[in-house]
């Protein structure tokens, strides 16, 4: 028997869902299709899921972290509230993620360098090959079996030494070959050190060969559709990682997975990926059957969630992942909607906390090649750091939080149309530019770095990140927290003020302090300083431009000669593309994985001290920034 249901109306959209009594309001919103900024995993601690009761009653939802004035006006934490009867609930626009996915023209929003296929010295050889074969007709003199006839031709053309084939594919051969007069296209995928004949089609379909390359970030997932014939990026899509509802950091998600099963995190990710895939293929003339591979890079827990393998030991000493180099699997087995014979490649990572996003980054920056020391810092929800050269590589990881991706900053957003990506001072006046000059809607990572730097330089915030009273008429109190309003609601695209608060600045300082301390300690363990770093690669999804001077001003990166600093964007995606298009690159990643040592900061007793030193703008040791 089903429980009695009731009607929940979400305003201002007037979306109605019927849910059972006792359903959490957050879940009802999710069923109605809203993506709520709940970041704590429903623990009632992040205040991201605030909603307002307009009519009717709910039970629970009131929490001590809400202010009395909020409670009086019907504000609830939707994760703590459940539906009792028919209700009308308003969802403030701030409670929702700005946009679910980048659509249509959004490819322009991505940085040019991300779309380019990087130049490499490898031989072009994609993970999936299509070859058109005009086979010799069998005769009494040429009496090889159908299957072996195809394999022999493939070996001759592509040079594989061994090819294995699934039974279903073999079963399809006799009819297919004879109906098409032995003119067929074979699709072959690299599978471990061998090759697999995935499927055979009639006629010549060599040009219909695509892969989807994915950077599975903790906060943001980015997917590119790549043509494996022309080596071009066709389209790009991104979305916020739907797993955020289980917690904003992977540790919270692993705990959620333990409570309620890895399955939920897995299916959420698969559904995000399927949405991205359909978005990429939508209104194109490419069908999902022409997509033969998905190549994914991400931190190790994300890869575990992708493959639905247990994560429970990653977060416990001694932090052992289940696998850092999983074999390719049939994508359809995991419910991914590409060609049902297509393969899913999860690139190899290094440890539980340094994943394939970093091995891909090492591949993309070619730091494994040089004589001089290079440092790569990839700033995402975790900050990962690699130092080394052609002889050795050393890595470490520090949790930074999502503020540099524009999340967990009240007016933050991903780098997409309308994001404030640049802030600068002109004659004492603060000005800004948005992506594609769209009406401003919020800050992306580069905009956040800029505005804090500018506010610091204009002495509107002090080095602790606190506003200096009376320093500007744009400072006001919001919810009891001081904030600087950059764009008034009249000018903003979202019709709401765009501001940066002391809490936002604190989030950013914490993030950059975690990363800076990790860099400092890793170099220290190698008996090096920043002066020894010949090239400093800064990677991450900040938006198109990052102002290096501003990044130095706030102490995100050290004050080293600017020509040594290279902003390289999303290296996880770039490296994954290289691995997708160049088999040698794919092999190189495995080599990188084997040659990179992981240093666990849990063993660094000076981490807290270095962190505290960096909890300042730019740093307590300001001398190193002079």
């Amino acid at each position: 028997m089903t429980k009695p249901s009731c009607k929940v109306t979400f305003l201002p959209q007037h979306k109605v869902v019927d849910v059972e009594i006792g359903t959490p309001v957050l879940e009802a919103a999710s069923r109605a299709g809203f993506r709520v900024k709940s970041l704590c995993g429903g623990e009632g601690t992040c205040k991201g899921c605030k909603m307002v009761i307009k009519k009717g009653k709910i039970s629970g939802g009131v929490s001590g972290i809400l202010r009395q004035s909020e409670i009086d006006t019907g504000v609830i934490l939707s994760c703590l509230a459940s539906v009792d009867s028919d209700v009308e609930i308003e969802i403030p626009s701030k409670t929702l993620f700005n946009k679910d996915a980048i659509t249509g023209k959004a490819i322009d929003s991505f940085s040019g360098s991300e779309l380019d296929i990087p130049e490499v010295s490898f031989n072009p050889f994609p993970v999936i090959q299509k070859v058109y074969l005009e086979l010799d007709l069998p005769s009494l003199a040429s009496n090889m079996a159908d299957h072996q006839r195809i394999c022999a031709a493939i070996k001759e053309k592509l040079g594989f030494s061994s090819i294995h084939t699934s039974l279903n594919t073999i079963r399809s051969l006799p009819e297919l070959l004879r109906e098409n007069k032995y003119c067929i296209t074979a699709t072959i995928g690299a599978n471990c050190s061998a090759a697999e004949l995935l499927y055979v089609e009639a006629g010549n379909t060599e040009k219909e060969n695509y892969a989807i390359v994915v950077d599975m970030g903790t906060t943001t997932i980015v997917a590119h559709l790549v043509d494996l014939c022309s080596f071009q990026t066709m389209r790009a899509q991104a979305c916020f990682n739907g797993q955020a509802k289980f917690g904003r950091e992977v540790t919270a998600r692993m705990i959620a997975a333990e409570k309620s099963g890895d399955e939920q995190l897995h299916t959420t990710l698969i559904s995000d990926l399927n949405n991205l895939i359909s978005g990429l293929l939508e209104s194109s003339d490419i069908s999902k059957n022409q997509v033969n591979a998905i190549v994914c890079a991400g931190n190790t827990p994300m890869v575990h969630f992708l493959l639905n393998i247990p994560t429970r030991n990653i977060r416990r000493t001694p932090y052992i992942p289940t696998s850092v180099e999983p074999s390719p699997v049939r994508a359809s087995e995991l419910g991914l909607e590409i060609n049902e014979r297509g393969l899913l490649y999860a690139l190899p990572g290094i440890s539980g906390w340094v994943g394939s996003d970093l091995t891909a980054g090492i591949l993309a920056t070619e730091m494994y090649k040089g004589d001089d020391i290079a440092l790569l810092v990839d700033i995402g929800t975790n900050g990962e750091i690699i130092v080394g050269n052609k002889d050795w590589l050393m890595s470490c990881s520090a949790s930074a939080g999502p503020s540099l991706e524009g999340s967990s900053v009240e007016c933050g957003m991903r780098a997409e149309d309308g994001a404030i990506e640049k802030v600068f001072a002109e004659n004492g006046e603060i000005k800004y530019e948005t992506i594609n000059n769209a009406a401003p809607e919020g800050f992306c990572g580069s905009g956040i770095i800029d505005i804090i730097s500018v506010l610091l330089q204009l002495k509107i915030v002090n080095r602790s990140g606190k506003f200096i009273d009376d320093a500007s008429p744009h400072i006001s109190e919001r919810d009891g927290i001081k904030a600087y309003t950059l764009v008034s609601k009249e000018e903003s695209g979202s019709k709401e003020d765009i501001y940066i608060s002391e809490a936002d600045i604190e989030n950013l300082i914490t993030a950059k302090a975690a990363i800076f301390a990790a860099m400092k300690i890793l170099l220290d363990r190698l008996d090096m300083t920043f002066d020894d770093v010949a090239t400093f690669y800064l990677a991450g999804a900040f938006g198109k431009h990052i102002n290096i001077d501003n990044a130095v001003t706030i102490g995100l990166i050290p004050n080293i000669p600017r020509e040594r600093v290279k902003f390289v964007g999303n290296t996880s995606l770039m490296g994954s593309k290289i691995a997708t298009l160049y088999r040698e690159g794919f092999e190189k990643i495995k080599e990188i994985e084997e040659n990179t040592t992981y240093y666990d900061l849990m063993g660094a007793d000076d981490y807290v001290e270095e962190f505290q030193k960096a909890m300042f703008l730019p740093h307590t040791d300001i001398e190193i920034f002079e």
């Binding site: 002090n462 080095r463 602790s464 300042f616």
Partner: protein
């Protein structure tokens, strides 16, 4: 065989900070107190100079602290009047200066007005001829009002005002710049926050040469070892040339020791610990001696016999 000389060679000098002003200098003190200026660690005179000995500031409060009776008795009836207490500290206990705490201003205590507090400060100033250290009650909002008034009545006396923290430094800087006082910068047993507060003071336009550093104080058994290492590290950082950490340091021993049961509880409560009348002052003296070695330049102290012990220690090590 010759044993090689392994003397440490420090490259820098701790700032000299002078507290108080004589008539020539625009004040009314008969003498001023200078601390800091050393180029070596405490007692290590063979490695550098220690031009100014550490000093003892007598603890005085505007309201009678919740102290054990034996301590109040040792100080005498004068404890009931801040002016008489201050006089006794100078005349009988031989304190170099007075550390006046305006505990009565505490909003959750007596909540005395700023005017009342300023009156106390004015009276204490008249009652003694040594320089003053003036502290609020520790409540940032209240102290902002109280210290402003108290600072104004001792304008030109070059007092040492406490304390500037991350949360209230702007107010303290404004007050001290207006009335020409020195500042105590305070951090919660954290060398980095200590430095950060100093940077904030400097950014707010205050000269760090006028700052005395205070890392709060812990009594023996309550984290003294932590504070000790912080004072020592701060001092070494200063001697190595970090101008931001080159201030003299203060330890509020008298304000801290008499809050812990180990120093005050009777023998019935702590059997075998001995008579608290001897144990208490020994505890205070032991803590003070530790902080002397750690690098404290100003010791705030309460019990007359502990003060006496430390005065001897200072003559021995300086």
């Amino acid at each position: 065989m010759d044993i090689p000389k392994v003397n440490e060679r420090w490259t820098s000098q701790i700032n000299e900070v002078t507290i108080g002003a004589t008539a020539d200098q625009g004040g009314t003190r008969s003498k001023v107190i200078t601390v800091g200026g050393q180029t070596t660690l405490p007692g290590m005179t063979f490695e550098g100079d220690i031009p100014n000995s550490p000093v003892i500031a007598g603890y005085v409060s505007d309201v009678v602290p919740e102290w054990p009776d034996f301590l109040k008795k040792a100080i005498g009836n004068e404890i009931n009047s801040p002016t008489e207490w201050a006089q006794k500290c100078v005349q009988e206990f031989g304190c170099d200066l007075i550390s006046l705490r305006l505990n009565g201003a505490d909003p959750s205590g007596d909540d005395k007005s700023a005017a009342d507090c300023a009156k106390v400060v004015e009276n204490v100033l008249k009652a003694v001829d040594v320089p003053l250290i003036i502290w609020g009650c520790g409540d940032d909002d209240k102290d902002a009002i109280v210290l402003q008034d108290c600072s104004a009545v001792v304008k030109g006396e070059n007092c040492l005002i406490g304390s500037a923290k991350e949360s209230n430094y702007k107010t303290i800087v404004a007050i001290c710049k207006a009335d020409n006082h020195k500042i105590i910068s305070e951090a919660p047993v954290d060398i980095n926050i200590g430095k950060q507060v100093n940077i904030l003071l400097q950014d707010a336009g205050y000269d760090l040469k006028d700052v005395v550093m205070f890392q709060t104080t812990a009594a023996l058994g309550y984290g003294l070892d932590y504070v000790y290492t912080i004072l020592e590290r701060a001092r070494m950082t200063g001697l190595k040339g970090d101008k931001l950490m080159a201030g003299p340091q203060l330890a509020d021993v008298g304000g801290e020791v008499w809050r812990i049961k180990d120093a005050v509880a009777s023998e019935e409560i702590l059997p075998g610990w001995g008579d608290p009348e001897r144990r208490g002052p020994s505890w205070e003296a032991a803590c003070a001696a530790d902080y002397l070695q750690a690098g404290a330049d100003i010791l705030v102290m309460s019990h007359p016999s502990a003060i006496k012990t430390i005065q001897e220690t200072i003559t021995q090590i300086a």
